[in-house]
């Protein structure tokens, strides 16, 4: 399981990273591994606003559809259209090429309340043990 040191993490296995004034989010390496082959990602429209924890998208693997939760409240400024033809990027490169949405947070400091990479690594390892 890989983690991105520059990202913060949710308990629902999303990563979120500051890039300039915006935040970028996607699902973690642990999450993509659990889901296995991803065949479709449904993403929101640019301009949509979501609260923290609200479902903003759906990621579909061969066997199941899973919700994606907004890590902190914000307004979508861009979505990763390349996932339409290449959903496998989520499996291959979850923290870079496999990003889901870019958004402007309501509160720029909200991200600081989330787990850092070390805390998430422990959290995910414990989740794995529970399986």
């Amino acid at each position: 399981m890989k983690v991105d040191k520059a990202s913060r993490y949710t308990r629902t296995h999303e990563w979120v990273r500051q890039e300039g004034a915006e935040l970028v989010t996607g699902i973690t390496d642990y999450a993509q591994e659990q889901l296995s082959d991803i065949v479709y990602v449904e993403l929101p429209a640019v301009g949509e606003h979501f609260d923290k924890g609200e479902v903003y998208g759906v990621v579909e693997s061969v066997k199941a559809a899973s919700d994606c939760y907004m890590p902190v409240a914000g307004t979508v400024t861009a979505v990763n259209d390349t996932l339409g033809d290449s959903p496998q990027l989520v499996n291959e490169d979850p923290y870079q090429g496999g990003w889901f949405v870019r958004f402007t947070p309501d509160d720029p400091k909200a991200i600081e309340a989330l787990m850092d990479a070390d805390a998430y690594e422990k959290y995910a390892a414990a989740s794995e043990g529970a399986h």
């Binding site: 296995s36 082959d37 065949v39 479709y40 579909e60 061969v62 559809a65 339409g84 499996n91």
Partner: protein
């Protein structure tokens, strides 16, 4: 409690992700993932642990007459060593199960679905009456593996004296495989060339290991349930509980070809003849998504906001690279090119009826 197969430790060692299926603990996938497993079977070969499948043996002086009455195909037309797809129906035409019958010198050997094993066996017992037949459920002592893919014959030939190049599709022979007495059927559930192997349960690990050993250089990989489903789906092979069930008759399912109306009385004949003459109001069709989205089992099919049908199986089809579904729709919407919608999470996504099978099985090429 779900049961482990004899190969459970092999699946664990291979990193298989174990799930419960029809009361058995089986690998849904191995680490390479279901998409790669699917392609492996289309391009090289795959080995499947399908011991969850059931088997029944029918023999005795009236075995033929008994089967003629219980199954939909004309068993009297089977050549020695032939394997044939058939159905078992209820009186009302609903499907008890879909099966493969093997005609062997001393018996009829029947492969049945895992989830239906007990039901089928009881159904056979109740249909016996005073017939001079014995019906034995041999599922416990019989192990079943499937070796499927264009390289399957080359792999199996290294382990058996049976002359596979002289064995056409849907033929069976009894011979040794790696020293194990095996019923070899040139049959399968993937749309590829391949074999299904039936042999004594205690030889499962030995035979699995021998096949993997000789197959590995030819690209053989173990394959899980997820790829088994996508492979059979592309070839439009029905899955009991999805495309077919007790409330669906063979005419609706597009399986009229598996019903021999010309033979004498069999269970369900009257109802099926009526259904055939009246024509089915619903048809099983293929759908291809126009809008993006993954159609799945039980999603509604709609036309202008009204539900008109249901998806039986849907998924991203790996060989075709498309989002496809099998669905029941009214016959008025069954023509290829007809546009309908699939309701995905409350949203109507456009799809169109397309010809099936999506992928032409090897035995029909």
């Amino acid at each position: 409690m779900a049961r482990q197969t004899e190969l459970y430790s092999r699946h664990e060692a291979l990193g298989g992700r174990i799930v419960e299926f029809a009361g058995w603990l089986l690998p849904v996938q191995y680490p390479s993932g279901p998409l790669e497993e699917h392609h492996t079977v289309r391009r090289a070969a795959g080995l499947f642990d399908i011991d969850h499948m059931g088997q029944v043996v029918v023999k005795g002086p009236e075995a033929l007459q008994f089967l003629q009455r219980v199954v939909t195909m004309d068993v009297s037309q089977m050549a020695m060593g032939e394997a044939h797809y058939s159905l078992i129906c209820y009186e009302d035409g609903g499907i008890v199960d879909d099966i493969f019958i093997y005609r062997l010198p001393d018996r009829y050997f029947i492969a049945i679905n895992a989830a239906n094993t007990d039901k089928d066996y009881l159904w056979f017992r109740y249909q016996m009456g005073r017939s001079k037949v014995t019906v034995d459920n041999v599922s416990e002592e019989t192990y079943m593996l499937a070796l499927q893919g264009p390289k399957a014959a080359a792999i199996l030939q290294q382990l058996t004296p049976a002359r596979l190049e002289q064995m056409p599709y849907h033929r069976a022979t009894e011979n040794q495989v790696a020293g194990v007495p095996t019923l070899i059927g040139r049959t399968g559930y993937t749309g590829e060339d391949g074999f299904e192997l039936f042999f004594p349960r205690e030889k499962a690990q030995w035979l699995w290991d021998r096949i993997m050993e000789v197959g590995a250089p030819l690209g053989l990989k173990p394959i899980g349930l997820a790829a088994r489903d996508s492979l059979r789906f592309e070839a439009k092979m029905p899955l009991y509980g999805q495309e077919i069930s007790a409330t669906i008759n063979p005419i609706q399912a597009g399986l009229s070809w598996a019903v021999a109306f010309g033979k004498d009385e069999f269970v369900g004949r009257g109802a099926l003849l009526k259904a055939k003459l009246e024509g089915s109001a619903v048809r099983l069709v293929g759908l291809e998504m126009i809008d993006r989205g993954v159609p799945r089992h039980n999603y509604a099919v709609a036309l202008n906001g009204q539900t008109i049908g249901v998806v039986t199986t849907g998924m991203y089809a790996p060989t075709l690279g498309k989002y496809l579904a099998l669905a029941y729709v009214p016959k008025e919407q069954a023509a290829p090119g007809t546009e309908v919608q699939v309701i995905i999470r409350g949203e109507a996504k456009r799809a169109q009826v397309v010809k099936t099978p999506f992928y032409t099985p090897a035995y029909r090429r």
